[in-house]
């Protein structure tokens, strides 16, 4: 089904509609008025003819000599020409009268005793000829009326009505445009806003305070709907955060009591000690998971804004490595700075960057016997931080998936020990994206996995 534009339809309806209606109106008006004008004119003219005929009769009866004068004065007064005939001979006529105007048919018919009327075209002009027989004086009176004025009136009227119809059509079309603007534009705005929101611009709202009540209702409802949806989204996002949050206190108790048990380790049996070890180990995973979940959901809900600073990348990497190593109780992997890197600055949130490095080193420790080195290099306008290991690497078909939440690749299944939380790499990707950078996994020079972070360099410091 081909969808037609509402806008177009409205415009056409209004424009055509106005045209049709105004034309109809104009036509009807014209026809009506013309009919009225013509019949009025005819009535008037006929009446005048009768009066003049009576005048002719009485003049003939009283003073026939004055007939010509009568006819001329009639002409002077009314601009119509009168001709009087008797027994097929012209008895008298007004000065400007022309006998050609009276057709033989008229003469014959009137001579036969019938009054006649005829509108005809004589030499390019429209005339109205009335013939009245006056048997009592054996004469026929013909009066010729010029219909020029009537013609002119009708013509003017036709012109005015046409212009009126045209004008109305234009107004109608303008009305259509105005209506379209008021109705279709809000619709377009709504669809545009909806598209923006779908893409993620959740703060998009429609402008309120519209003139039209219906449009106002639409925008208000729309905005309300979006706000509600956003609230739901945020609430959902915060759920994980809330859950993790609630787990804090019980976890604190668990961790602390586990420490206490450790203090009294010697009082336990071998089984007790083994159980305690397992407890402590899983508790540690539990704790990490809760922390990761919290961090993840907070970043999802945008709850904690980043504190972005321009920091020395190299200094940052060194400190991150140091902290990561100490936190996990592992040896610090060496940091290798490529030649000519200088001291570039990057715009990052310090604590999240540290988290990223920590997670990558931890990942290498878990799945690949630890990171071999952290290599820092400059590629074009970007800083590259490579965390390389000498493990079995990441299979090519898992290169994208490995950053998914809770993704367990083949490597994890293979190793079967020291399971991570499953969120480590996902967090890394989230944070790196927030910095405006990218992370990819390729192969390290040692044959294992290379996790490469690319960050835009803000400014190169002095080398």
């Amino acid at each position: 089904m081909r969808r037609r534009s509402l806008r177009l339809r409205l415009l056409v309806t209004f424009g055509l509609g106005a045209l049709v209606i105004s034309s109809l109106f104009a036509s009807l008006t014209y026809i009506g008025v013309k009919h009225l004008l013509i019949s009025n004119q005819q009535q008037t003219d006929l009446r005048q003819s009768y009066v003049n005929a009576a005048l002719v009769r009485s003049t003939l009866y009283s003073s026939p000599t004055e007939l010509s004068d009568l006819l001329n004065s009639i002409q002077k007064a009314t601009a119509s020409n009168v001709l009087v005939q008797t027994h097929n001979e012209w008895l008298a006529r007004s000065n400007r009268a022309s006998t050609v105007d009276v057709s033989p048919t008229t003469i014959k018919t009137v001579g036969a005793g019938h009054a006649t009327e005829q509108t005809l075209n004589a030499r390019g002009r429209i005339i109205f000829v009335v013939g009245v027989p006056i048997p009592s004086v054996e004469t026929q009176v013909f009066e010729v009326f010029q219909l020029d004025d009537l013609e002119r009136t009708l013509r003017t009227m036709a012109l005015v009505l046409t212009l009126g119809a045209l004008f109305t059509s234009i107004v109608g079309m303008s009305g259509g445009i105005w209506v379209t603007r008021r109705t279709v534009r809000p619709l377009e705005e709504v669809s545009y806003a909806a598209a923006l929101i779908a893409e993620g611009a959740l703060t998009t709202r429609l402008q309120v305070n519209r003139a039209d009540r219906e449009v106002q209702q639409l925008t208000e409802s729309f905005n309300q709907m979006v706000s509600q949806l956003v609230l739901r989204l945020e609430r959902d996002a915060r759920f994980a955060s809330d859950v993790s949050h609630e787990l804090r206190s019980p976890l604190t108790t668990l961790a602390t009591t586990a420490s206490v048990l450790q203090q009294h380790r010697d009082d336990l049996t071998a089984a007790g000690r083994e159980s305690l070890d397992l407890l402590v180990a899983d508790l540690s995973i539990f704790q990490s998971l809760v922390e990761d979940l919290l961090e993840m959901s907070r970043s999802d809900a945008g709850a904690v804004p980043l504190v972005m600073e321009n920091l020395s990348a190299i200094e940052l990497v060194h400190q991150s490595v140091r902290s990561a190593a100490r936190r996990h109780g592992i040896d610090e992997p060496p940091v290798e700075i490529a030649e000519g890197v200088g001291d570039p600055l990057v715009l990052v949130d310090r604590r999240r960057f540290e988290r990223v490095i920590t997670n990558l080193i931890d990942n290498a420790h878990r799945y690949a016997e630890g990171a071999v080195a952290l290599r820092v290099d400059v590629l074009g306008t970007q800083l590259a931080v490579n965390v390389d290991d000498a493990g079995t690497g990441v299979p090519r078909d898992e290169h994208d998936q490995v950053f998914e939440r809770f993704f367990r690749g083949r490597a994890a299944h293979d190793r079967g020990i020291a399971r991570g939380t499953g969120l480590g790499l996902a967090l890394v990707r989230d944070h790196v994206s927030a910095f405006g950078g990218t992370i990819t996994v390729t192969e390290s020079p040692e044959g294992g996995a290379r996790f490469q972070i690319l960050l835009p360099i803000v400014k190169s410091g002095p080398s």
Partner: protein, 187 residues
Amino acid sequence: MLGAIALAGCSLVPTASSPQLIGPTHVPFGLLGKTIPGTNNGRVRFITQPVYIVDATGHLSSTSRIVPSPPVLESVLRQLIIGPTKIESGGGYTSALPKNLIILSASFRGGIGYIDLATTLSKLPRSQEVLAVGQLVLTAHVVGLTLGIEVKGVEINVAGVVQNSPLPGNHEANLMTTQDFQSLLNS
């Protein structure tokens, strides 16, 4: 559309190819009646009767008057006395007959037209008298023609006294004819 027609210049008032009859009931004033309202007269016929007046050059000239038919000599002659119409006057026509002239009677008997005047015309200047008489004689002749009478001549009486012809020449004739006044006719 309308505008096109209006601008094109075609006629807007509808024309008919032949005259339309008007029903007799629509004609007022009893125009179609057999008699003139208020009178008992039967149908009156009018004709255009030639008469003679004096043109600007001082000649006798023929013009016409609408008179009932058949024309009555007396009435026609009285028309002469009334004088030229406005249009005729405008054209320089005049009447030689004095306005106060009274025609007592005028009629035809045995082919002769007898005109009785109350006062004589001989008191008028000769030129005017000639024209005046000429008007009377010529007009009487053509009236007679209209009536189908072969007019032999015209006699003018004043209180029973036959007036002599004012024409130069020495004829006693009291019967004047058209021929007598030929020279005065405008050609």
